[in-house]
Structure formats: C-alpha cells, structure tokens
C-alpha cells in the first residue's frame, strides 16, 4: 500500500466514519489538512467566522441528528477560541471529535509561534484527549476518538495534531473495530436490580417519573413512552430532557426545577417513589438538597455510575443504557402481568390536577406591549409545534422551554449545563444542515445574539435559512430579574444603552430583517417569515422590558417553595441561597 500523508489519513478516516460536515477555521498549523480537503467532495467543510461557533454548530448538528459532530481548528488562538464550545459539549454530554493543529513535535514546549498546551487546557472539559506523536497510530487514534465520543455517556474528544504528523507519511489502515481494556461502558442493566426496581415502582402510591438528557442521548424515547403509558404515572422532564416524552400528552406535567411548573415541582416534593432516568440531579432541579423529595424512595437509571448518588443518595441504582433498562422493565411487567396500585395512583392524579389548576404558566396578556411568552405561543402555533427550536441563554430560553411544547426528542436544542450565551445561532445552523427540510428557529435575546452575530455571514454562505426570534427586551433580562429580586433593583450593568438596528444588520449580511413592535403584528410577522422558506429572517420583537420568568424557586428554596407570579411577595433569599447561582 502506498504511504499517504497524515493529513490524507485524517480525511480518509473521516470518510470511513461517514462524516458529512466538518466545521472549522484554518491557520498555519492545519494548512496541510486544508490542502488535503481541497478537491474532494465527500466531506463538506463549513467555514465559520469564529472557532467557538464551529464547536456550537457541530453541537447543533450532533444534538439534532444524534451523530458525532466534527470540528477542525488551528493551534494557539484557534483552539483557545474553541474551548468554550468544548466545555459546553462536555457539560451536556454531546458527542464531538475536535481536531486541533499543534506546532511541530520538535518545537513543542518551546513557546513556539501559536503554541498552547491544547491537551492541558482542555483536559478538564473533555471526555478524553490525545496528542498524536507518531503518525503510525494516527488512524487508530481517530478511531478511538469517535468510539469514545459516541459511546457510554457521550462527550467531546480532542485530538491535537502537530504539523509534522500531518505532513509525514504512513500506510493507511483503518481498524474496523476497537477495543479498549480500560473503557467498557455498562449498557445492560443488572437483572436483579431491575427486578427490585419494578417491585418498588409498582408499589408506589404517589409515583413520579423524572427524566433527562440521557433519554435523548440514548434515543430511548420510544421505550420511555411505552413504559410511562403502561404505568399511567405522571412524568416530568428536565430542561435537557424536553421532547423525550410528548409535551402534549396528558401524563406530562411540565418541566421541573427552578423555572418548572408548579405541578411538576409539587409532585416531586410529595412523591413516594421517584423514578429518575438519564438525569443527573442538577442543582437547578433539586433546589436545596436537603429539602429534595423528602418522602421518596429513589430508583436511578444512568449509564454513568458517577452520576448516581452524586448529589442525592438513591435507593436502587441501575447502571445501564436507558433503552435497554426500560425495555427490560417493560418485559418484566408484561411477562408477569404485574399491576400498579391504580386506586392510589388515581387519588394522586386528582391531587396533581389540583396543582395543575393553579395554571402556573399563566401570564398577564397585553394589547399594548408584546409579551415574550406570547411570541413563543405564536411561534408554536405558526410552526404547528413541528420546528426544531434552538435557544440562547437567558429569560428567552426559559420561555421557549415553557411555552413551546416539544413532542419529539432532538427538537429542542439548548445549552443547559454551561449556559453559554452565543450558543443558539451557530447551533441552529448546525441543526439546519442536519435537517435541511425542516423549519429551524433560534430563540434568542438581545444580549446573547450579539455574542455570535458574525455567524450570519456563514449562514449566508452555506444557505442555512433559519428564523431568528429575538426577544428584544433591551436588558440582560435574566440577570436583571435577579437584581430586581435579590439586589433591591440595583440594575448594575444589565441595561443596554446602545443596541444595533438588527433589521439593518440582518440586511447587511444579506438576510431579511423585520422589527415587530405591536402584539397584533406578532403572528403575521411569523407567518411571513416562515413563508420565506429559503431565507434567513431576523425577527426583532420589541418585548416588555420588565417581564420576569415565573414560576421560580429562588435559589436555596425547596421544591414546594415556588413563586408563582408577581403577586407573590418573596423576594429575598437567605444567605445560604445567595451564594448559589
């Protein structure tokens, strides 16, 4: 076999992995790789305008499609710019393979031009990383990276490539399979634990199913729906888990956590058996830990043993992958014709319906000023609930999560763990590339959108028509809300005294811009925008500047200590709560 260059080996590996899109940005250390990408058609390279966007776009692609996202950046500033995106993918367990250029092996450690210790800088925020020092193991390393990124609890893997490795030559062999003696995720749950869990689950009088991103990451939604409907139990999803169970189904009682519904949080607080599936008991969900689910015995299904009993001690841990474990539970229940306590569960549902009747997501409509919630409701209507929605970070993110009812997994794409402003726009571009025939909307805010605005140019270049729904309140609204509640309205550095004209800006990038100032124009504008199938449209909605996100559990509060709306006086938290985010 003819030896080929490291750069060519890389491209061949990507083809072997079936990679469609490579999100990247060139520079000195990766020039050889770019040369190998020239004159080939299989891998389409998307030239972003900032490396952080390359990672978010790859995340958007991965989150929408379930495939591994692939990124290529140069050494030094290229890779440091990518770090935010890598950390974002790490926190939300998104499968990515990131290639970074590095100075030639002989110069490593010399403070060479554009040298940074990429492996060192990214170590705390990757699932694993490699520095390739020998071209003979390049192909195998790439195979390992894709395997590690996409299996078990997924995550980003970085491969640092010194320039001489991309230039040197070796024969190309791509391993068909890879086995790592030190990495063997447990997929199948322990039969004895599953049996014990089923007994506990069926004995419940006040059961509650709480599921998260793990169901989506594992494509376990069909099994979740089947099990939930077989049991007839109430179900709530985390922010990362929305869409895993259809939001319009009557058993769904809304998102839980800091900005979850009253009924979901109250049901969590009062349940006697909690069935946690692919969720990690995040502090935005648990509230104050010692007030969390005080009367529940807990079953926890998770592929990562370190997620189990990390924040909350559980009674029946099951390490395994969601679809496998849930299928096994369904089989036990069906085969043995087991029954739940329908009478007790019926009483429980009546209690939950009383909580539901509080209508915790109601808001005061207005004929004068556009309410942000109203925009999302109309977005839901106009897209018939079918669009892929990406989001930035802030109040608008919460309203999108609360008022757009996601009926399928991978329809809702947002940055949950790291909460990265700037995520939404490049993620929308990645999602649109994965699903060109579907409507994609990016719900954003006047603060967030300005963090990745330059990607409007990339979106023009690659014809990724998405609809940008900017809930423009003139403020860093989420922070302003906290200042209003917890800092006696001292609005320090949250008001934007100068905002650009987003309509002109959109037009400058070659897109369509619209500014909407009256509630009566909201629906029409959305309809007009979505009718422009092949254009990116920037919809700048001028919204109520003072609107707050409700319900809310102030940090440090328990799940039964929710603020429902303006009418609730609270608005102080104790010292312990103040240190929390």
């Amino acid at each position: 076999m003819e030896p080929i260059t490291g750069a060519e080996i890389l491209v061949r590996c990507l083809k072997e992995e079936g990679v469609e899109y490579l999100f990247g940005y060139p520079g000195g250390a990766v020039l050889h790789i770019y040369d190998a990408l020239y004159n080939q058609e299989d891998i389409k390279h998307v030239l972003v305008r900032h490396e952080q966007a390359a990672v978010h776009a790859a995340e958007g692609y991965a989150r929408a499609s379930g495939k591994t996202g692939v990124v290529l950046v140069t050494s030094g500033p290229g890779v440091t710019n990518a770090v935010t995106g890598i950390a974002d993918a790490y926190m939300d367990s998104i499968p990515l393979v990131v290639f970074s250029g590095q100075v030639p092996t002989a110069l490593i450690g010399n403070d060479a031009f554009q040298e940074v210790d990429a492996v060192g800088i990214t170590r705390p925020c990757v699932k694993h990383n490699f520095l390739v020092r020998d071209i003979k193991i390049l192909a195998e390393t790439i195979k390992k990276a894709f395997y590690i990124a996409s299996t078990g609890r997924p995550g980003p893997v970085l491969i640092d490539l010194p320039k001489d490795i991309t230039i040197g030559k070796a024969e190309f062999h791509y391993p068909k399979k890879i086995k790592l003696r030190s990495y063997n995720p447990t997929v199948k749950g322990h039969a004895g634990q599953i049996r014990k869990a089923v007994d506990l689950i069926l004995s419940a009088k006040r059961p509650m199913i709480y599921t998260g991103g793990g169901v989506i990451l594992s494509d376990g939604s069909p099994e979740l729906v089947e099990l939930t409907q077989l049991l007839g139990y109430p179900i709530t999803n985390t922010l990362m888990g929305l869409g895993a169970y259809p939001a319009t189904d009557k058993q769904f009682i809304g998102m839980l956590g800091m900005h979850g519904t009253y009924e979901a949080n109250m049901a969590m607080h009062h349940c006697d058996v909690l069935i946690a599936i692919g969720a990690r008991f995040d502090d935005r969900v648990t509230g104050k830990i010692d007030k969390f689910c005080p009367t529940a015995r807990i079953v926890h299904v998770d592929i990562d043993p370190s997620s189990i009993s990390k924040n909350v001690k559980v009674d029946i841990p099951i390490v395994g992958s969601v679809p496998n474990v849930l299928r096994a539970m369904i089989n036990v229940i069906r085969d043995e014709k087991l029954r739940s306590d329908t009478e007790a569960v019926g009483r429980w549902w009546r209690q939950i319906d009383e909580w539901r009747a509080m209508k915790s997501l109601s808001y005061r409509p207005s004929a004068e000023v556009i309410k942000p919630q109203y925009v999302i409701e109309k977005l839901y209507r106009v897209t018939e609930g079918k669009a892929i929605i990406t989001s930035d970070v802030g109040q608008h993110q919460m309203w999108a999560a609360q008022y757009y009812h996601f009926d399928r997994p991978r329809q809702w794409i947002n940055s949950g763990g790291l909460g990265t402003m700037g995520f939404g726009l490049p993620a929308a571009m990645g999602a649109k590339l994965a699903f060109p025939d579907q409507d994609v909307a990016c719900v954003t805010g006047d603060g967030s959108i300005q963090m990745m605005l330059q990607e409007l140019a990339t979106m023009k270049q690659y014809h990724t028509p998405v609809k940008i729904v900017n809930l423009n309140n003139g403020y860093l609204g989420m922070v302003r809300q906290w200042q209003e509640f917890f800092y006696q309205k001292r609005y320090c550095m949250t008001y934007f005294e100068a905002l650009p004209d987003f309509v002109m800006l959109a037009e400058a990038y070659g897109h369509v811009g619209m500014r909407i100032e009256k509630p009566g124009d909201v629906e029409g504008a959305l309809r007009e925008a979505f009718a422009l199938k092949d254009r990116t449209v920037f919809l700048d909605f001028v919204t109520d500047q003072t609107e707050n996100v409700f319900p809310m559990i102030p940090s440090g509060g328990g799940q039964n200590e929710m603020l429902l709306a303006e009418r609730d006086e609270m608005v102080s938290t104790h010292d312990e709560g103040m240190v929390l985010l």
């Binding site: 170590r123 694993h128 520095l131 370190s306």
Partner: protein, 167 residues
Amino acid sequence: MNNNDRHLISILMENEAGALSRVANLFSARGYNIESLTVAPTDDATLSRLTLVTCGNEQIIEQIIKQLNKLIDVVKLIDLSETDAIERELMLVKTKASGEQRAEMMRLAEIFGGRVLDVTEATYTIELTGPGSKLDNFLRAVEKDAILEVVRSGATGIARGQKALRA
C-alpha cells in the same frame, strides 16, 4: 466509615503521557484532597501503578472512586483500605548525630528497624520503611531539632492473600 477516613487507593493505568495529570487534575478540579501519591511503571511496561492517599466521608470516597474509574486511562483500581492489605512507605531521614546523640540515634533506628545508610561525624542518614503511622512515630520519637531533613516516598500498598490487581 468515619467522616474523614483515610483511604489508600491503588490504580492500574495506561503508562501514557498525560495519565498522571488526568488523575492529579481530577483531584484539584473536584476539590478532593491528595495526601500523597506515588507512581511507577509495572512489570508490564504498558501499565503504571499509581497509589494515592486521600480522605473524605463515604460519599466523597465513593465519588472519587467512580470518577477515577471514569478516566479513560484507568484500567482498574482498588481501595486497599476496604480489604486486608499491606501498606508501606519509604522514608529517608538525616539527623544530627554527635556526642551523646550518636548512640541514642542508633538505638532508635534499630528499634524502628531502620538502617543507617550514610554516616558523617555529625550526622546519620537513616532509611526506614513501614506503614505511614510507624514513620510518624519514629519522627515523634526523635528529638525535634535533631532532624535535619525528611524525605518520604508516599504510601504504596498491596492486598494480602491471593487477590492481585492485574489488567
């Protein structure tokens, strides 16, 4: 288990650049403490053995073990404090040894099973091995200002009986 029990954790990991940093990084990033750490390649050159001493309550130790296992480079590990195990540490101590001190120092070294490796007219350099507590006791037994320098390797260990940690 007590709130701040001491644990001796022994890890078999890939003998690769960066593996040690991953372990050290994990402890600093997650705020766990490391009292001591030793590492060296094993008879199988592709593997190294890392032994560390840490402390924490049951929940923290459980997390430490899970997080260590999660590192891709970690092949296997054992919490030696949970089994019947032998713990050993090497210590080199340079002490003053002149006049009356000389005989006294020699006697102490003998009691603790130490060996004198180097002698000058004013000093001894003594080698001692044993569990950390024994080395602590020796240092306590020696008069404070007689100690010139102390070098400890950090604890390492192995399970008793037929149990062996292998890849």
